[in-house]
């Protein structure tokens, strides 16, 4: 943290505590790189930051099309920032068409400042000129404060190819507008282009400087966002959730990730493919998802617990063999970066649709541990925890994250790993042959595991029903006992968990229950409602199987309990929907079944992260209907 360097005040700059900035472009124009760098610079200056990528669904969408909107949102502030927020305060756009999809997503408000490339006004194609004029009139009508700027023209003074350089020019503009330290921005640029030549770095430094000066001269717009106070002396890192997942794999001591490419999970493996060898690890790209998990299971069986990373469609393919890991009690970490489903669904967009599939996806009873990371930081730490749980409880562990966490970036305390985080070396001591391979403790279902290489440890692992000797057994008693023991492990794990913390007062009118990446948005919405005097609290679950204990007691202290999720549920007001046939969102299903409390839900499948403002409105409506 270099916060101390920037406490000096900037004259004329308006003091603000938070802003949401977007850069929107056609894909391939470098908006994401500019935004990420702006986020890193802000984090290094001590601000709370959350960035979220705006990703087109296609790799090469047509230029100047609403569906092609590609870019990034950066929310920065003087407090810890946990989510993407509501409407943007300032937008930089490289063309007017891409803004339509953002407008359709409710990304802007009256008063949002728009800085837009103005070259389209004089485009040789008359239709483009007309589109541009029409759009800008419309934007102004809707209250956007529009500044038309000759961005490419200004860049052309520095580079003959402004198309590739203008993103750093925009970064320079934002650095002026938000009173960023140019020295920090320059060092970030040097890091990003470290694999490129000195000349490239130098050119981008000049573009940065030019953008900075351009903004100073042509815009009467400058803000100052003071650093957070609470960060103190801790060291921080900035990553997205998929990089955090990759770092978690390395921090857990797992040596193998076996995967098949699938959006939005793949970038975790891309990151590992770059660095895994530095800790002695290997990324295996298998021929399909079944082979990917099979390979990981083979390694785990041989004593090296491995990880496989996928998304919903991959999970579907892995179910049969995941059940084998449950049945034969093989430790394994299965990370699922959720996207919109069912089927190929929304490959690049967020959903929390795989909770029930993770818990109940297999035929027969296949109890396993299912946990969900709620923050980018947890994407890292939960892998370490999952590896340990997998080995201690001799079970696969499903770790759920989602597209929002995967691509969001945030500063968080740098983990200080120790050798205890790593997997111990494989045990090759002699196995007492009088101890069966599944020496289940009758109370907990736990048992030690023989590993190939152990003299006297040989046994035949089987996916068929088996005795504690791992002998195939079709008799009633053996099957009942095996099922009991595997299930008992979840009860044993639940016994070690603490009840979740309630955010807000421990009692009140309305309790919101969430899981996964919606944590920040839910808590911010709860804060807003509480500031208005409403008795609203929330609880956020990390363990979904087994569920954290004490839920029923916590729920009993509120008049109403509801989940807020990004997955499908029937709107109770929709045609044909009655209390009897309403389909609830996934966590609500689970909580209703487990607690017998009449848990309500609100959920949407918009392919977008939940915004605190949306949730706040929902809370107010529910509270009002409770009074009515």
């Amino acid at each position: 943290m270099e916060a101390s360097q920037v406490v000096e005040t900037v004259p004329r700059a308006e003091l603000i505590h938070e802003h949401i900035v977007e850069i929107v472009s056609d894909s391939g124009e470098g908006a994401q790189k500019a935004g990420q760098t702006f986020g890193s610079v802000s984090a290094r200056m001590g601000n709370g930051v959350w960035t979220v990528e705006i990703i087109p669904a296609e790799i090469k969408p047509p230029a100047r099309s609403p569906a092609g909107a590609s870019g990034i949102r950066i929310r920065l502030g003087s407090k810890h920032i946990t989510n993407m927020g509501d409407q943007a305060d300032l937008v930089v756009a490289f063309n007017e068409q891409v803004l339509y999809s953002r407008i359709a997503n409710g990304a802007y408000k009256s008063g949002t400042v728009l800085l837009i490339e103005n070259k389209w006004r004089n485009d040789p194609v008359a239709e483009i000129q007309a589109q541009y004029d029409r759009a800008l009139a419309e934007f102004r009508e809707n209250g956007l404060i529009v500044h038309e700027l000759p961005l490419e023209e200004a860049c052309r003074e520095i580079t003959p190819n402004p198309l590739v350089g203008k993103n750093m020019f925009v970064l320079g503009m934002l650095c002026h507008i938000y009173s960023r330290d140019l020295e920090i921005a320059r060092s970030e640029i040097s890091i990003i282009f470290k694999r490129k030549s000195e000349k490239v770095v130098e050119l981008n430094h000049r573009l940065l400087q030019a953008g900075y000066e351009f903004a100073r001269e042509s815009l009467d717009l400058q803000y100052q966002v003071p650093p957070q106070v609470e960060q103190g002396q801790k060291r921080f890192i900035v990553t997205n959730g998929n990089t955090a997942l990759g770092l978690g794999v390395m921090a857990s001591g797992m040596e193998l990730v076996s995967m098949y490419p699938i959006t939005p999970a793949t970038s975790a493996s891309h990151y590992l493919a770059d660095v895994f060898h530095e800790v002695g690890g290997f990324v295996h790209q298998a021929e399909d998802e079944i082979a990917a998990i099979g390979f990981a299971i083979g390694s785990s069986y041989a004593g090296k617990t491995a990880c496989t990373i996928t998304s919903g469609p991959g999970l579907a393919l892995k179910t049969e063999i995941l059940a084998l890991a449950v049945m034969a009690e093989i430790p394994l970490v299965l990370a699922i970066v959720q996207r919109g489903g069912p089927s190929t669904g929304l490959p690049t967009k967020v959903e929390q649709g795989d909770l029930l599939a993770s818990i109940f996806g297999e035929p027969g009873d296949a109890p396993k541990v299912v946990v969900a990371a709620a923050t980018i930081e947890e994407c890292l730490h939960f892998v370490v925890m999952s590896r340990r749980l997998a080995e201690t409880f001799r079970t696969p562990v499903v770790l759920l994250t989602d597209a929002n966490l995967a691509t969001g970036q945030q500063p968080y305390p740098r983990p200080e790993p120790s050798t205890e985080w790593l997997a111990p070396p494989i045990d090759q001591t002699e196995w007492d042959p009088t101890v069966p391979p599944y020496d289940w403790d009758a109370e907990t279902g736990l048992s030690p595991r023989p590993i190939p290489g152990m003299v006297g440890g040989h046994y035949v692992l089987t996916g068929l029903a088996h005795t504690n000797e791992s002998k195939v057994a079709y008799d009633s008693k053996s099957n009942q006992l095996g099922c009991d023991m595997r299930s008992r492990k979840l009860a044993a794990l639940a016994g070690t968990l603490k009840p979740p913390k309630v955010y807000g007062d421990p009692e009140g009118e309305l309790l919101v229950v969430g899981w996964g990446s919606t944590l920040g948005a839910i808590e911010e919405a709860v804060d807003r409602a509480r500031e208005q005097g409403h008795k609203v609290s929330s609880v956020h679950l990390r363990f979904l199987s087994p569920l954290e204990p004490g839920l029923k007691q916590i729920f009993s202290r509120f008049r109403k309990v509801m989940t807020v999720e990004i997955n499908y549920s029937d709107d109770p007001a929709a045609p044909l929907i009655t209390p009897d046939n309403r389909r609830y969102s996934q966590l609500a299903w689970l909580l209703r079944a487990q607690t017998l409390v009449d848990v309500d839900c609100w959920s949407v499948v918009l392919g977008a992260p939940l915004q605190p403002g949306m949730i706040h409105q929902v809370l107010l409506q529910r509270l009002a209907s409770m009074e009515g």
Binding site: I237, M250, A251, F282, I297, P415, G453, G457
Partner: protein, 317 residues
Amino acid sequence: MFGMNADWSLEVFERYFTIGDYAGGEARWCPGCGDHGILTAVHKILRDEQIPPETTVCVSGIGCSSRMPHYMGTFGFHGLHGRALPIACGIKSRRPELDVWVSTGDGDCFSIGTAHWIHAIRYNMDMTLLVFDNGVYGLTKKQTSPTSPLGFKTNTHPGGAILPPLNPLSVTLGITNVSFVAQVVDWSPPLLYEVIKAAHRHKGTGFVRIIQRCPVFSDSLSKSLQNDPDRVLLLQHENGIPIDASAKRQFSNLIEHDPSDLSAAREIAQDVSRVPVGLLYRNPDAPCYETLTSRGVEFTARKRLAGLNAALDRFTI
């Protein structure tokens, strides 16, 4: 077992493994099933090579053939239908010192496991891959398999199989990085032993298609071949597999075939009028994937931690 030390005292060798050390539960295959002979050959090879049972892992899928791990006194992994190979490859990936055997069937390997078969050959990890090919689905009671001949009557094709069979030899020989392909019949025990032993000694994936008798569901297939040994083509070469007199008596059709000649091997495999037995192809120099997958296994915890801290530092602000 005893040996003599230089000072004339007796040295007791800690461990000598007998056939009994490799035997597991009593084999429950039908009487007359070819699988029994394959198991016996494997037991003998392990004994002759003195492979410690605790470092031997036998991986299988599902099928009669896949019951083999249960009859072994080694580590075993009786997994899922079609998925033996990914698991075997995963075992090998970070434990390359383990001696891995895969037992699979024609349905298990050539139908539901096809993708893994192709890619495992390409990975060429050091393991012995035995396909027990009875030309039928045995465990599930006589359905058509990919190697059932045209017209072969099964419960799924009561009028006879309606597609010509897949040719596992020519497919395998067409895969990039293939390094060992052999074929043998279960009713020639000395040849069976030698072929499997060569596959086991081979560094890489030793693919052996074993034409296997299933007297219950596909008796006619093996009978017709047994009754017509001239259809069998015995492959012999100084760089091939040792062939004893009994095999030569059994199969009089004998040709010289150099196992380093891939095109000749492919030609022999293509000719479905003959059933070649012996070694079709061997390349001892094909790269094995585990030399890549096992990189870094020797890293100490300190070294891992240092790498991790360096990675974290790159994101530190």
